[in-house]
Amino acid sequence: MAKPEFVYVTYIETTPEKLWDALTSSEFSERYWWGTKVLSNWTVGSPFALEWRGQVTDTGVIVEADPPRLLSYTWSNASEEFRNERPSRVTFVLEPYGKLVKLTLTHEDFEPGSKMLEGISKGWPAIMSSLKSMLESGQALDVPLTALKIEGVE
């Protein structure tokens, strides 16, 4: 059986440096990630957090950081619902590809049947699509959160 993970590949007309900035700057992330701020100093061992509407929703630790090529952090949702799930792990690999960057996102280390995996599998395609739009056209996407049909997200 395949291990529980989510993998998403996208090609973006940008530079690895600009993409790295977009992944690690809360000013950028607010634009493509429904107002979510990514917070960390992005060095290995430092804390990582997502803040949404003034509240910390997810926390973790930076596992690998090799700008502008590789970024990896652990991820635990702070809500009651996911308290018993072990931390999962998010990895971004940025590869120059001619005039483009190939971005590979892997979100893994889930327990079998993880509810978190179900939610992030719906969320990441919208976030990555919006990130690509922002870098290419200057305009992030406005995907209604409710359209993702993630349980418990309104």
């Binding site: 590809y97 056209s137 995907v143």
Partner: protein
Amino acid sequence: MDISQFKPAIVYTIYIASTPERVWEALTSAEFSRKYFSGNAVEVDLKVGGAFVVRTPDGSVHISGEVIECDPLRKLTVTFNVNWPALIEKLGPTLVTYEIEPVGDVVKLTLIQSHDRQIDDDILSGGRQGWPAILSSLKSLLETGEPLVIKMEPPRRMLEALKKLGIGTP
């Protein structure tokens, strides 16, 4: 054709700042597809049972199939068989479904590649490599007017797996 036995092997979702009309046209017109699909032209007779063909830039048939479901602006399902000797005999037909859904001001496009049997990961690696490139370029084309220039490496892992099965590849 009974498609109830087919199960999704690859699912790829992408959100595009566009309309269902333009996304549908991009998926079904030769002119559009040449721009984002490495010069390949999609030719499709948009009715159930109609022919579906993808031609390479030199005009030869690369993929052939037929329309299984056609709900304009919403859903298109086709058989999507690469024209390599013994491929269907060994792997069965490949089914490709595009689902188009307006969400707010954008369009959610979902690609589903399905098979009627278990397909090895080595063989699926071809589609896992190809679809994100094709659909990333389609999105760029619709949003910025320019497709991406993606020089695809040949899908080596898939080609080796096919060769082992005795399927003739270029």
